[in-house]
Symmetry: D2
Subunit: 421 residues, 4 copies
Amino acid sequence: MKNTLTDVSAGLGERFCSVRQQTETLCEPLTPEDMMVQSCPEASPAKWHLAHTTWFFETFLLSEFLPGYRPFHPDFYWLFNSYYNTVSEQPVKKLRASFSRPSLELILGYRRHVDAAMQKWIEEGVTPEAARRIELGLHHEQQHQELLAYDIKNAFWSNPLHPAYREGSLQSPSSASAMQWIGYEGGLVEIGHGGDGFCFDNEQPLHKVYLKPFELASRLVTCGEYLDFMRDGGYERAELWLSDGWDTVKAQGWRAPLYWFEAEGEWRVFTLRGAVALSAILATPVCHVSHYEADAFARWAGTRLPAEAEWEIAASGLPVEGNLLESEILHPTAAKTGEGLQQIFGDVWEWTASAYLGYPGYAALPGALGEYNGKFMSNQMVLRGGSAVTPESHIRSTYRNFFPPASRWQLCGVRLANRQE
Amino acid sequence: MKNTLTDVSAGLGERFCSVRQQTETLCEPLTPEDMMVQSCPEASPAKWHLAHTTWFFETFLLSEFLPGYRPFHPDFYWLFNSYYNTVSEQPVKKLRASFSRPSLELILGYRRHVDAAMQKWIEEGVTPEAARRIELGLHHEQQHQELLAYDIKNAFWSNPLHPAYREGSLQSPSSASAMQWIGYEGGLVEIGHGGDGFCFDNEQPLHKVYLKPFELASRLVTCGEYLDFMRDGGYERAELWLSDGWDTVKAQGWRAPLYWFEAEGEWRVFTLRGAVALSAILATPVCHVSHYEADAFARWAGTRLPAEAEWEIAASGLPVEGNLLESEILHPTAAKTGEGLQQIFGDVWEWTASAYLGYPGYAALPGALGEYNGKFMSNQMVLRGGSAVTPESHIRSTYRNFFPPASRWQLCGVRLANRQE
Amino acid sequence: MKNTLTDVSAGLGERFCSVRQQTETLCEPLTPEDMMVQSCPEASPAKWHLAHTTWFFETFLLSEFLPGYRPFHPDFYWLFNSYYNTVSEQPVKKLRASFSRPSLELILGYRRHVDAAMQKWIEEGVTPEAARRIELGLHHEQQHQELLAYDIKNAFWSNPLHPAYREGSLQSPSSASAMQWIGYEGGLVEIGHGGDGFCFDNEQPLHKVYLKPFELASRLVTCGEYLDFMRDGGYERAELWLSDGWDTVKAQGWRAPLYWFEAEGEWRVFTLRGAVALSAILATPVCHVSHYEADAFARWAGTRLPAEAEWEIAASGLPVEGNLLESEILHPTAAKTGEGLQQIFGDVWEWTASAYLGYPGYAALPGALGEYNGKFMSNQMVLRGGSAVTPESHIRSTYRNFFPPASRWQLCGVRLANRQE
Amino acid sequence: MKNTLTDVSAGLGERFCSVRQQTETLCEPLTPEDMMVQSCPEASPAKWHLAHTTWFFETFLLSEFLPGYRPFHPDFYWLFNSYYNTVSEQPVKKLRASFSRPSLELILGYRRHVDAAMQKWIEEGVTPEAARRIELGLHHEQQHQELLAYDIKNAFWSNPLHPAYREGSLQSPSSASAMQWIGYEGGLVEIGHGGDGFCFDNEQPLHKVYLKPFELASRLVTCGEYLDFMRDGGYERAELWLSDGWDTVKAQGWRAPLYWFEAEGEWRVFTLRGAVALSAILATPVCHVSHYEADAFARWAGTRLPAEAEWEIAASGLPVEGNLLESEILHPTAAKTGEGLQQIFGDVWEWTASAYLGYPGYAALPGALGEYNGKFMSNQMVLRGGSAVTPESHIRSTYRNFFPPASRWQLCGVRLANRQE
């Protein structure tokens, strides 16, 4: 039995190191000052992400499972709590921008302290329950890697000098491959996670749903197609929008996706590699659009957004590959020519028409970790498939991401479904 | 053929008179000054309801179907438009409180003018299409009758003198009947409206859904049960709440349902018949709670809110009867002792766990009337069953009402469903 | 001694009737519904003005001086309190729009009840102290007459139909008389109220100030001159504005005085007599400008606003006559040709460059009436001279009116002073 | 003539180095991360202060006076502009927290670049006009030194760990010296700056004012005295407050000065040297109170705040010495026992009863520098005397500081004046 646990631990140890390292690698282009910026209410400073992901392991693993574990700092258990009311009170989110102390150096020391304790523990062998929770901590950290990328993009966009996070230009073919409709027969099908591997509580239980026959677009909507929508008055025609969406368009003055701006008579797009001409990336998927914009675009196109069950049935069985974080492109790329569904994993999170709610029989994890997913099941929409900054080992066909419908600071885009009779 | 139409019109004419008269009857206890008050952003002045329901018939029936119809006033087509962008621009909602002109007298003249034209037309015979749209206009007016009751309640609540809308006290037994669980087997069932009678576009199409076996509570949650929740720290325990709900509780300072207030050491409840002691109505259904409160109560009770499909399957086939507007009680009453589901129709709108979205294959009505329902399918939750101020001829088992989850100014309450394995 | 008091009372009784009647006369063109409207946070419904002015006499005179006086209604002492914290808590100001009850009829009954008691008391003879306080109550009522005119103007402006308060057109010559500079030698002078007649506490004590020689414009700035400022980019040039003023211009989107609007290619001005073409009233004084706009205009013109002491020295000894409420024009009119200072009293309140602060040695009235003026000595600017809706018996050269610098809903305008070396 | 200029330059060069160095000395305890924090809308990050003060010399001296001067960076002329609309558009103030780039290192390079050019120029000799403007730039930098101290205090206060800026404890005697009244005879006096030395435009012109005889308190109000006010219900008694002040107390929930907090049953005070027990510093001057609080305290004490002219007459002729920045205490200290006026310079800025307005005949500097003072003459109150973080060479008896009346994040305190008959 001991052996088995050690075996589990062996792979786990390697994965632990790899995921933890990935977070720090993402910070390599950043200065300590960059890592202080919190440029919008949704965002957190990069330094905070470094600390909070470490806090997760210290709070939910080391302090809980390892008798005699000594916390790195007496205040960190509440200082770097995000929203787990069951654990402690938390600093108001916007205060994270004032955390000049502890210094980056101390936070990196915190990471080393926790990593060392974790690695020693994993080497010595952990119980299956602990292994499952470590896996949860690693997926948690991967979610923050993605947030870190979004947050630093917004930080650099807010900086009037618009610095680039990484050098190098984005490549794109001059035109997109033709969009095709792929048909599915539907019927009484099963969705949700039923296997042995890791999943979040919100992917369970596996359950039956009934679907009418449906068709999905073979690829994502491109910047060029979205520009057509804009030129056809997309942002001025109330009849294309949900009521809340139209109110948001007017209140926020939206007239293009986030990070699109006009300069010297042309549209330009701010990316993690700096600003590029929109004309150079017309064939790439449109991104940084809200659910409202995705929905209005679909209505304009005489189509609709897919239900999450439709998306999952279509994605089920497809290999997890695509333009994900490991490609290091950090931005969606044009679809390859070819048969069948393209761009299912990676590139952009795909807005669905489904509200984020618990599956029938859903039960949150017990204790504080029950706050991870369940309490957000209100006023949010489901997105599927991961983005160009999602780690490959983090995504799967049953994965349910969720954002409020007005959110735009993530890499969110649009796949269409055909209207039904 | 002519005869058939006249036959249709005959019943229609009577129903038209009856519904239109009902609105004015609701205004009888009100002075012209009462009918000016707009006490919260959700509400409208009673005078505006009188005018806007008339505008509906003038705009979508008389002006569209009757050649040569002369509008009552050249400005009313835009002045009393609520949110139909396709028809015209509209005054900002909060401005409705400034409509001292046109006077109440002129608005009543407007009603008489439109009623006369409508009645003459109906007597002469209308096409089936027109008859369907007149029916829609009548259901629209019934919805505004309900809103009028909510709005005047809020108006009188805002008035520091807390006047009563109607005289007479509320009756209630001292204790509620026992709550029982009624079981349903689920399976692949059909919901939505499939028959010939009137329904809104959002009730269609009839479609299949798969349900696991489920149990519903035999009656609504009572004020007494809700008071237990409060006394058990319901409003202070974050773990019971959706995250958005908890934020709302803190931001709004909620600590009881709307219209509950403490005076001289006891809880009192403001109703359309003035304030009553909570202790006198403990057996009546709790009302004026938001979706957040309903959901937190259910979690506290170890239960959940029903899905809208579960509710509809349970309600299907039951007679439409209960404490509705025609009972003239204007407030929910205690459940009768008895077998089976109680209080399905009337008393309070029952919050479900379902987001308000289009059914698979949903299509909005063509033209401006397509703005009636579809554009609100975002950030709202479905409620079922009607309330003590819903007209009996307005409600049915497939009826889908919808409000944002933080809404409390309507007669909304709670029916529980049993947690599933 | 008794005789003397009766003598005083004789004139007082007549003045009491006359002022009280004036308020009701102002309401004659209004319906009960008009008297419910509260269209901006600064405004109150006309019905509230009717009640609050009555409350003043009941609270500070009848209840305090007349043993055994029985208040008209047990709740009115707090319901119609405006801001006298020493007397009672008050309803939040914006709630005044919800006071549909008490009805207008009941408020008029309240007035008759209080008027009868006051008149009887005055006839029987009042003490000098009571007489002084009655005089204060009458001046208080006159201030509310002016507010009532402003509030109903804003109410009718907010109404999308823009009804007129009174019929009849405004007359204006086609061009204004030439503006001249009138010189004053300054020196060590005295300002403030030193005589026997009525004054507010903020006009006292009489005190010395030192003034350099100065020059005042012979007449008010006209609409035509203000239009020149606008056409010269007045609202787009930051260098002309105080910093707070520039922030306000941008935040509010100001580009013209309040009540100016563009329709069919020309500027129009909404007045108490409905909308008129700006071109028809170019020679009349500009009004409904804030202190910020008055200050920016003066800077643009190479001039400045007068100090309140300069204005008072210039106005001192001039007869109180001009376009005041009694002229029933209700809007400023063009200056007459002639020598010397024109338009000193009436037409528009003239913004000064002086902050509203207590004079050296200022002491507020004792008790609750001390809240009348003193507590507002912060963030406000002094205005002088009265307006076209100020009663003639209410204004004098020492009178200090005060508004926050961003206020525009009153009849405020501009008189220039020459820059000094 | 050349010689004379060089002579002037000699002293100027030394002063230039000394003031510029002082700014960097203030930053020594700070990390690059500390220098990113902007914890309230009034504050700026320390790094921004370093850059903006340099921008002043580059923009108004080097670029304007030195032909061929090459700016350090092509974007800095607009990036580090604070509010000079005449120079360029500016980034919105709150964006300063996003300026992670340029790095601190680059900003320090900017300082060295500009300092070298300035020093070379000064050594070569500057015109009197340039020398005057350099002097203005140095005073500008000293103002930002003071702001930097306030801003970093607020930053560390916002940080939930409450770090200390400097080590070392504050010393205080256990009780304050007795407060005495010092009498002045007033009369027709002159205030304002009339000499040859440097002054801001708002201190001019020298002009006559008339003052009644008055008395000033010999020392500042202490924390102990302020605690008495609090214990006497100071924050709960509306009658003590200006109306705007009372609204602010309620809206902000004020119940003590800024930086006072309760912990373990006692009041503590956060300072630049960390938190100290209030009981240990009762004899020190109260600070971080708004004008509203100063005014309410004075009213409670049966006194008033001094007019700025009274303060200036009293301070005129006194030596500029006291607890200023050079003492390195960074917090007000208890008054010494002794005769006459104490604590006139240093310790805390003293709120006066005077609104910040232009003196008679005031003229702003020509061009962009005219935006320095004049445009803020609205809604602000005058403060006098400097604080414990004001450089000694920066303050004088004619110096007029100004803040909005609700401001509390500066070292502001209270000196009383005796009420006049």
